[in-house]
C-alpha cells in the first residue's frame, strides 16, 4: 500500500506518472513529495512507488 495525502491506496508498483494518470491532478500544477523528498518533474515516469511509500501531492490553484 502507498499512502497518498494520508489515504492508503493499492498502487505499489506503479510509477508516479501512471498513478497521476488515474487522477484529476493537472501535472503542470502539482509538486510531488515522496517520503519527505521532492520527486523531480523529470523523474515522474521513472519513479516506481514501493509498498510503504508515503506520497504528498500539493496541487496549486490560481490567485495571489
Amino acid at each position: 500500500m502507498v499512502k497518498v495525502n494520508g489515504t492508503e491506496l493499492d498502487i505499489a508498483g506503479k510509477t508516479v506518472s501512471e498513478y497521476l494518470a488515474t487522477t484529476n491532478y493537472d501535472p503542470k500544477r502539482i509538486a510531488v513529495e515522496r517520503n519527505g523528498d521532492i520527486v523531480f518533474k523529470s523523474k515522474y515516469d521513472a519513479t516506481v512507488l514501493d509498498d510503504g511509500d508515503s506520497l504528498e501531492i500539493v496541487s496549486f490553484v490560481g490567485g495571489g
Binding site: I38, E56, V58, V61
Partner: protein
Amino acid sequence: MIPSKKEWTDALIARHGTTLHERFSSATVAICGLGGLGSNIAIALARAGIGKLLLIDFDRVDITNLHRQQYKANQIGCYKADALAENLREIAPYTVIRTVTEKITEENFSDLLKEADVICEAFDNADSKAMLVNGVLEQLPQYYLVAASGMAGMDTPNTIKTRKVMKRFYLCGDEISDEANTIGLVAPRVMLCAAHQAHTVLRILAGEYEV
C-alpha cells in the same frame, strides 16, 4: 521628519529585542510576484525590519490591481517593482531594496534568487506557482521556500492556514479556493494569506521551524 537610522534601529530593538532584530536585519528575502500576496508580504517584512528585500515582478500596476494590492492610484502604469520600492521607502526607509523587473522563468530563477535566505512564492498563476516551487525544491534545496495556494473568494477567513509540507517548504492558504471558481480575489482574504507567508518568514528567521 524621517527618523535617523539609529532611532529606527533602536525602536525595532525595543520591539523585537536584539537577537530577533539581528536575525531580521541581516536577512535577505526574495518576493516572487508583487501582486496581492507579494505587495502585502513586502510591507509586513519591511515593517518588521528585514534587512534586504528582493522584489521581482515583470508587470506594471493596473487599475484592476488596486482593490487588493498595495499600490496607489497615481502609480497606475508604473512597474510594480519600482512602485512598491517607492512605497516601502516611505514606510521603512532603511530597508535595502533590490528590484528586478523581469519575468521569473525556469531558466533564470536560480540565478535571480541565489542571494536570498528565504524565498516567497507570490504568483497568481497556478502553473507559475508549480514551476517555481518544483524548481526551487529541485535546484535550490538549501533555501527556505514559503508558497501560497488558495485564498480567493468570499469563503470564511478561518480556513487560511500554514502547513509545513517538507523540511524547508511551507504552504499557506486553504489550498482549494481557485480564483477561477470564485468571484475572484478579495483584499482581506489575500492579505491574510500574505500575512501567513510573512509571519512564516519571520518565524523561520527566528529559528522557529514548526507551524
